[in-house]
Each structure stands twice: as structure tokens, then as C-alpha cells.
Amino acid sequence: MAQLFPLPLRWQGKLPAGDLAPLNCLFGGGDGMPVLQGARIPKRALWPGVRVSGNGAAEAGPTGAPWVNANGWLIRVSRFLDATKPVVLDTRPLAAGSSHVLAVADAMAYGASWVVSHSPETWPAVRAALLFFERNAAWRAWEPVAALAMIGEFAGADESIGGECLNLLARRQVGYRLAGPGDLAALNGVGAAAWISKQPVPYEKYLSWIRDGGTLIVRGEANSRAEGNGRVIGRAEAWDDVYAATAGIHLALTRRTDVLRLWNAGSFNSYYQMEPGGKRGVVHLINYAGNRGSDDASIWLARAWKRAALSTFDKQAPLKTRASNGGIEIALPQLGVYAAIELEGE
């Protein structure tokens, strides 16, 4: 029997009144539900949101886009390291008014769950979000749409650089997948891979993939060379300057390979997935500014999907698409904390 996907409630003692479905387990004790067991609970999880400085202003990076605390990369790494265990984020609201719905979306869009901090005020919206993701539980098995494979151990010596690099790639809306060192099967369907492990690059393992047209991005300019139909691109950036390293990887990859572009959505991260066979896709749009809406965002997808619809927790509406630059562009209505663009091909 398949393991139940855990939707835990942080609670002690007698359960709160009312319908608690779809919550199905307890974190921290209590009565009336099974206790959460067998989950992977990453310690580096952060309360999601735009990072705020001491004076209350949003912190911004060199490009002017706000820094956000987001857990998508951490969930993806956790699932990559152990696909057998569900991932649960144990984070607590930082302050009154923190968006609990954002915590749900930040976890569940990436196939994890959040330990719900219950309050009568927040529960109806949180419940709607949980039910939405449960209705779309199939998305948890869909693959990321990626132009790039990030190769590393993502643990031990590679944990820090790998994690921050993935976090920054997400801010650049770069579609990536994860691959272990030497795992050539994980490179099927992507044209480029970046070796971010601190271990030496085992070039011989990748030669056939490169010669078939692959691009392997590594550190050190001197490593650049052509190999058959492909090439090795050595980047000059110091790999321990993660911001520079990520920018360098994106430049080597080039925006020509972008699978998705966003405008007027600086506080958003996106996560683009496709079902096996490619007939349906979904783009999760998570607004780390929380309940502050975003006006006039637009999205471009490199694939010319036939139909698109915008789903929020309580409704769905068709979206108009227009052909643009080989793909489709969609003008989005005002967005809240979360929206999913559901896509259909032929």
C-alpha cells in the first residue's frame, strides 16, 4: 500500500474544532490523528517571503530584484537525495500577518508539505490551498521542464554551493533538473549541464554526451574546448562566489535556451513541470511578497502550448495566449500568493 502523503498539523493536546480535512497527521504530539512518521524534514527550511532589512525595506540583489526566502530548491534537493521519503517543512510563522497560504504554496508546489500552524483566522484559506494541491496530487510526479542539468552531490561539501546556486537559478526563472555525478540518464533531453560539485570533473564519463552535442559547463576558463558536436565551457567566475557562478552558468547556457520568461513579477518564483509524455504541463507561480498582488505580469513559454488556464485555489479561468518568439505569451490578471497556469498540448 502506497504511503499516505503527509499533511501534518502542528498541535498539542485535543484537536481544534471543525473539519480538519485534508490534514492527516500530527507533528509534535496530540490526540486524534496519527503522528507524522518517516518524513524527511530539512533543517535549512526558511519561513518563505521577501527578505526584509532592519529598516523594514525589501532587500534587493544586484539586479534590483528582491531577495526572497524560498524553499523550492531545498525541497527538490531533499527529494533528489531520497525519493522514497516525503518532504515536510517545519517552519513557523515569523510574525502576525505572515502568509500561511504562502507557506503551503512554497512547499506543495514542489511536492512537499508544510506543518500547518493552525488558527481559526488562517485555517479556511490554508484548507482551500491544501485541498487544491491534493486535487492536483498528480503534479508531484511530473518532471521539471529544464534546459539545464545541475550535476552535484548536493550534500556534504557540495551542499552549500549547490543549494545557493539552485536558489539563485530559481530567481532567474531557469528551468533545471538535478543529476548525480556520472548519471548520464539524467541528461537525456537537456542540452546543457553544469558541474557544480567540488569533486574533479570525470570528463571521460561525459565525453559521449558532449560529442553528441551536449554542453558541459565547468569552472575554470582554461577548460573550455570543443568536443565533437558539443563543447566544454569553462567559466572564469570563482565558484564560491555563488551569485557570480550562477550568472556565469546562465550566460554559458544563454537565455536562448530559456523555457520560461516572466515580466513584472520580481517577487515571484516559478516552477514549470510537465507530465510524462508532455501532453500537459503546469507552471506554478509563487508570490513571495505574500498577499500583495502583482499587477500586469506576463509570461512567455518556449513551447507553443495549445491551451492555457489560470487556476487559483478556488477557481479556474481560461487564458488567452498569443504566438510569440516561437512560443506563447500570456498576459496574466492580477495575481495573489499563488497561481497555477495549466497547459495542454496536442
Binding site: 544586484p62 539586479t63 506576463s298 518568439n325
Partner: protein, 375 residues
Amino acid sequence: MITRRDVLAAATTASFIQRRATAAPIAPVAIQRCRTYGAGLEPTMRRLFDGIGGLGRIVSNKTVAVKVNLTGRPSMRLGHSPAELAHWTHPRVIGMTLHLMNEAGAKRIRILESPWSTTDPLEEYMMEANWDPALILNAAKKVEFENTNYLGNGKRYSHFKVPNGGHVFPAYDLNHSYADCDVFVSIAKLKEHATAGVTLSMKNCFGITPCTIYGDGAGEKEPSLAPVGGRGSVIHSGARKPSLSSPQELHPDSPRHGGYRVPRVVADLCAARPIDLAIIDGVESMAGGEGPWIRGTRRCSPGVIIAGTNAVCTDAVATAVLGFDPMAKRGVAPFENCDNTLELAEQLGVGSRDLSKFEVAGAQIADIRFEIRKA
């Protein structure tokens, strides 16, 4: 707010150079009605360039540098409008200009811009806005791009002295591409500007200053390796100096506000690095300011394209097309809060803004006027 000190400072500087305005050079300006960037663009632009004597005499067998206007971040749009329909020069105008320059015998063309806070190649910047740079690269033989917001492909910055002394700086250090060309072209967008009143072919050249020297994150003694931020603290407010390796301000006690400084720096730049061909894309544009970051801005469709070989004359025509008087003084629209860049450039001998002194070919201003404040 304009203080008495500001007025005196401006008057003192102007008195030294006022005489040059009377002798400012002139050249014909052409205007064409152009409603879309579609199939009609090519014949329209041919007529436009014919109206100023043809491109051959300007670019034949020459290396051409083309400064385009890609202001702001590529991830930012005015509403849902792609940047080229609001605040960026449209790629079809750039591509068509290159195509016609190629026909006219241009030897080599380099597209220049100083994109926001990055050393990324221009191609990458354009793609972030959803442009296909191949449309520009393939529009003519030997087209290349250079990001001029830093040293770029050069070994050193090129020094441009402002003839007749300059308003703010006596000289500017710029990316080598502004020196390594026979012909310098500014392809601008027809827009208002929150600080300078209007932004046309001359104001487009504000962006030729590298932020490694003139930016918020410029190195104190030497240029920084990469640009960080915009030009607010060095040029707009004068709160800090450019890198000390570059020429410093002539009048450090002059007013410290953008409405005084920005028009003067623009005039200086256009005197130091003269524009040989000014092209203003007003087919689609925006009203109320130069980019989506200005509150109250909105899309508009002036439906016009303008060109000339004298930037002041060309900008004077464009200012009039927008419904303003290019002879207007500070305090009069569109210069309510700033000095008139055209007047300051005229004082430096760059060109005349007096519409009675030069020919306007093609459409006439009165027939094509688009009062942008009413848009």
C-alpha cells in the same frame, strides 16, 4: 525647487556660451507618418532617409556605431506591453535602419547600449525582454553588439573632451566603441522624461556613460570592473563624484538636482560625442515619463518617425511634434522642473532648436502633431 543660486549659476554659465547659440549649425529634419512596425516600415524609412539626403552620404564605407534605447530592466514592462511598444526602441526600427545602412554601403555596424547594472552581453539582455537578437544581427553584414556600461572589449576607456568647456564635466570617459567609429547614430524613442522633460536622440546618449565610472557603485579611485546600479548619485544628484581617474566636475558648488544636472550632462555628452544621425522611433510609445517605473505612465501611439543629421534640430522637431515649444524656458512645459536640454546643447554649439532656421521634409509638424500630454 529652483533657488536664486540656481538661477545665477545657470545664468553665469550661459553668458559665456550664449554667443555660440546664434551660430549653431543646422540640418534638415525628415518626418514620416508611420502607424505600425509592419510591412510599411521599409518604404517609410526609405522616404525618411531620402528626406535628409539619403544614407549613402552618411554611412558609405564607414564603421557605424548605433546607440539604441533599452532603458530600465528587461524584466519590467509597462502593463502587459512588450518594452519595444512602450519605452524601448523597436527592434524592427533598429533592424530596418541596419538593413538600409547595409544597402547604403556601411562597412561595419556596432549596436551599443549600457544595460542596467550588468556586464551581460547585449544579446542576453535583449533575450530577457523576449527579443530575438538574430533579427538585428542578420539585418546587415558585419553587425556586432557591445555592452558599453563598462570597459567591454576595450583595453581602456576613451576620453571625450567637451568643446567650449562643458556645463558639468570638462570631459567624459566612455567605452571605446564611441571612439572606434566613423559615424555615431542615436536611435531613440519619442517620450517624455520625468527629469529632463523629454527624452529624444540627445537624452538617449545619457546612457553612453559607463556606470563603472558614473554609476552608484563606481570605483572611488578607478572604475569598477562591473556596473552596479544607475547614475542617480553621480549624475542626477551629484551626491558623489565619478571615479577620480576621470575628469571631475567643473563647478562642484553648482545645484545638486537632476533638473539642473541631467540636461547639462546630456548637452555635454552630445557636444563631446556628436551624433551624426538621429532617428526617433515614435510609432508606438508611452506618455507621462520614460519608463514603467514612473507613476501615471501609459501607452500611446504617436505614429511618427523622425530623422536628421543634427541632433538638436531633430530633437527640436520631435519636441514640437509632441506638442511642446522647443524654445521653451525652464518652468514651461515640458521643462516645468528642469532646464531645456536643447537650449543647453545649442549653447555648446551642437545645433539650433529654432524651427524657423531649418527645413522639415516629408510630413509637416502641424499635420502630424501628437500632443502627448493629452494622450
